[in-house]
């Protein structure tokens, strides 16, 4: 009883926040559209194509991520080579990279006047490539995780029973990695289906997704009926995928201790395999970022460093720093409360997913409708940043709390530590890396956010992302160069967050389970 009460008390603030900042705005949006809800909407061949394409590109991204990611993961997990640990760490990078930076990178490579001289604009490949940039690492990480949980003895047993390495893969490794892959692909589908930034930047006019369609219906055509209907559809599909993911995730039980197959230096032809794998990884994961850096360097050469002294740039840097700091502070508080409350409540744990799956476009317009008096207020903007950022803190901390064996604090108590001392001397040092990681993710989210910012920002609140998008939409090579240069700045900031996340820490080892 008291435990439940305590959970409720802890959960009160995050719950109220979620209700005010996401549930009510969405309901408001649906209500707005409901008046003229047209059933014939889905019979419209144009919208049909949008929906089919959204599903198709998400499915295609899943298939491609699986086909490319699995062999890559196998090579990374099984071959020892110089820089392997770094490569595995760098796989985290896309998780903190703002969509705007990735989009700029893809455009710098394959857009008009792209570095590679191939213009893929107005083809579906641009969006698929962007999707792979973000989601390939997800699949690779999941598969590596799965592969590392197969005991070496199991593989050796299969080999001595007469299976070739290829047969071992299919009969032993694949069945073991499969559940990990399914849950990762579930997320890939979810992200690709509901992603907005990439689809807006890379989809062009013909390969835009439902999400972009909703944005255009609401922002340009004021067609709330259709937008509302599409939003319901989005929520249905994403809700379904999120449920599926949660269900799949539950079945992933990691054994306590395994002796995985240690990675071995490749021999002979295996070097070719490994080099090919690394080249493919570079193509999908590194090239867009390198393209941004290259083009930014060119821009710097072209315009000189003076342009960073531009008044707008200084304002944007200042605002980005300020807003991110405030949003992270809010996210830290909300995240801690949510994580502590979620320890005993499965429903609360699932709720932390809500801000991940809600379309930021729908959210922003819901907020606009629900709180017209706040649309140009900093409080609403920061609260929205916090909403999008705090689940990272909550999930990271909740994961760390889960993997804390209860007998550690118990041991501390029995050794004479008060609850407070137990927290500061045992729990906090163990939770701190997860907390730091959550904060870094939160900071990266706040820094890179731009969908909601497009709706709720004011000119004097110019941030890096809005400035980039603004300059991208302005004429002249100077503006394009500045946009590229600012993208590089944003990328370096994201790299900072990445370093904070991946910085090795002594207390991390026992908490390996947390992802």
């Amino acid at each position: 009883m008291t435990a439940r009460r305590r959970t409720l008390a802890l959960a009160l603030l995050p719950l109220a926040f979620l209700l005010l900042m996401s549930i009510l705005p969405l309901l408001r949006l649906l209500q707005e559209g409901q008046g003229q809800f047209s059933v014939g909407l889905l019979a419209d061949s144009y919208l049909q194509w949008r929906i089919v394409w959204s599903l198709l590109q998400a499915a295609a991204s899943c298939v491609a991520a699986l086909l490319v990611g699995l062999p890559l993961a196998w090579c990374l997990a099984r071959y020892q080579f110089p820089g392997r640990r770094l490569a595995l760490r760098l796989l985290m990078l896309p998780f903190v990279m703002p969509t705007l930076v990735a989009g700029m990178g893809v455009l710098a490579l394959f857009g008009p006047q792209g570095l590679l001289g191939i213009n893929l604009q107005d083809t579906p490949w641009l969006l698929l490539y962007g999707n792979l940039f973000f989601n390939l690492p997800l699949v690779i990480r999941a598969a590596c995780e799965g592969l590392s949980l197969i005991p070496a003895s199991r593989i050796a047993a299969a080999r001595t029973l007469g299976a070739t390495p290829w047969r071992v893969f299919w009969r032993v490794e694949w069945p073991a990695v499969r559940p990990w892959l399914w849950s990762a692909l579930c997320l890939v589908f979810l992200y690709c289906f509901s992603g907005f930034g990439l689809a807006l930047l890379l989809g062009g006019q013909r390969y835009a997704t439902v999400e972009v369609e909703i944005y255009q219906l609401v922002a340009y055509e004021l067609n709330l009926a259709d937008a509302g209907a599409l939003a319901v559809l989005m929520l249905l599909v994403t809700g379904l995928m999120a449920t599926l993911y949660a269900w799949l995730e539950r079945s992933l039980a990691a054994p306590l201790k395994v002796d995985p197959l240690p990675p071995r230096p490749p021999q002979g032809a295996q070097w070719l395999q490994l080099l090919a794998a690394l080249a493919v990884l570079l193509l999908f994961g590194g090239l867009p970022l390198l393209a941004v850096l290259w083009k930014a360097a060119q821009a710097l050469w072209l315009l000189g460093p003076d342009m960073l002294a531009d008044e707008d740039v200084r304002l944007a840097l200042f605002n980005s720093a300020r807003f991110s700091a405030l949003a992270v502070l809010l996210a830290a508080g909300l995240g801690c409360l949510h994580a502590l409350a979620a320890r005993t409540s499965l429903a609360l744990r699932a709720l932390a997913f809500l801000p991940f799956i809600v379309s930021p476009v729908c959210l922003a317009f819901g907020l606009l409708l629900l709180y017209p008096q706040w649309t140009a207020s900093l409080a609403l903007l920061l609260a929205t940043y916090a909403l999008l950022a705090y689940p990272f803190v909550a999930r990271s901390l909740a994961g760390a709390l889960d993997s804390l064996p209860p007998h550690w604090p118990q041991a501390a108590r029995s050794l004479g530590a008060s609850p407070l001392r137990t927290f500061t001397r045992v729990l906090w040092p163990l939770l701190q890396p997860a907390f730091r990681r959550g904060l870094a993710f939160a900071a990266a989210t706040a820094l890179g956010e731009f969908a909601v910012t497009l709706f709720l920002s004011r000119p004097e609140w110019l941030t890096l992302t809005t400035l980039i998008y603004q300059r991208l939409g302005r004429p002249g090579p100077d503006n394009a160069a500045l946009a590229m240069l600012l993208s590089a700045v944003l990328m370096l900031l994201a790299l900072l967050a990445f370093v904070a996340i991946e910085w090795p820490s002594a207390a991390e080892r026992p908490l390996k389970k947390e992802s």
């Binding site: 419209d44 144009y46 013909r206 055509e221 606009l368 004429p475 002249g476």
Partner: protein, 335 residues
């Protein structure tokens, strides 16, 4: 502890959001570019702080105004044009104002400036290919002009919509839609907005399309912004019949807005000689106030003598249906 921190922070933020001293909130589109010293002068003379809220494209801006009509986000709006004024009036988001007269007029608002949406072409490209310029819109559907045109999506771009409206006004709805179908088959490219069309797809700027839907003043702007001294513009207007739309931009008071007196002063300020003189080379529109001398660079902008522009009432009534049809014809099934 964390809870306390969070709540105090939230409270502080809310308070900061609430307290705004005497300020005039001006809603405008993202191309608003009145010189900063002029705005500062206005602030000083009237003892007010101007808060310029740029809400994207003009269409987006009006939609935002409509969505927030219960509690308006601005007191005065600038940049509303003849494609949007009807929509705003129907939604009842503006205080009706009588126009002050001038070169052109905008019913229900005070006209500030005007311009023409039309086709631009890349002179060097046509010279190099030795291709004659198209004489009519229908020429653009012929194989000789395949894959040469880039237009903006009328659903997301004001010039895109203006161009669509001019074709409909000239040919009638049925013929215009048939024309667009043929354009689609002839490889018309659709961009999201003017900037994308003009700065990435237009061959003058490195793209692959030598004809673009733009403004009749764009050739002058090319000369104005060019790094080297030009005696002639590298681009020209293609004033084909049915491909010229007269756009009139205006300002109006927002219904439910505060500071009505200041708002009126701001509208007058936009019609003042200083601002009217600034408009041509900052926003590349013609001032409505008579007797304003244009910058000499405007000799490079051929001003159209005829245009096909539907009246704003008709636009308000039909735009949604027209854009819907256009989308389904030109962007059909995404192929």
């Amino acid at each position: 502890m964390q809870l306390f921190k969070t709540t105090t922070l939230l409270a502080a933020l809310l308070a900061a959001g609430l307290s705004h001293a005497a300020e005039l909130r001006v809603l405008t589109h993202s191309s608003f570019a009145v010189a900063k010293p002029l705005l500062a002068e206005f602030e000083k003379q009237n003892g007010v702080k101007l808060s310029i809220i740029k809400a994207g494209d003009a269409g987006e801006m009006v939609n935002k105004l409509i969505l927030t009509r219960a509690n308006p986000i601005a007191d005065v709006v600038y940049g509303i044009d003849n494609t949007l004024i009807g929509k705003a009036e129907t939604a009842g988001v503006l205080l009706p104002m009588s126009d002050k007269g001038g070169a052109v007029s905008l019913p229900g608002a005070v006209s500030i400036d005007y311009g023409y949406v039309t086709l631009n072409y890349d002179k060097a490209w046509f010279a190099k290919k030795q291709l004659p310029l198209p004489k009519t819109l229908d020429d653009l559907t012929r194989p000789a002009y395949k894959d040469l045109l880039v237009v903006e999506n009328p659903a997301t771009s004001s010039p895109g919509l203006a161009f669509l409206l001019s074709t409909i006004s000239a040919m009638g709805e049925a013929k215009a839609m048939a024309f667009w179908g043929k354009l689609r088959d002839n490889g018309v490219k659709v961009s999201k907005g003017w900037t994308e069309a003009y700065y990435t797809d237009f061959s003058r700027n490195g793209g692959a399309r030598p004809i673009v839907v733009s403004y009749a003043t764009s050739p002058a702007a090319e000369v104005f912004y060019s790094k080297e001294k030009l005696t002639a513009s590298p681009t020209g207007n293609l004033l084909l019949p049915g491909a010229v739309f007269q756009q009139v931009e205006g300002a109006a008071l927002v219904k439910g807005g505060k500071e009505a007196a200041l708002a009126r002063k701001f509208v007058e300020f936009l019609r003042s000689d200083a601002v009217q003189k600034d408009i041509p080379t900052s926003m590349w529109m013609y001032p409505v106030q008579p007797g304003i001398a244009l910058d000499p660079v405007f000799q490079h902008a051929e001003k159209p003598t005829a245009h096909t522009t539907p009246d704003s009432r008709q636009i308000a009534a039909k735009t949604t249906a027209w854009v819907g049809k256009w989308t389904r014809i030109v962007l059909k099934s995404g192929q």
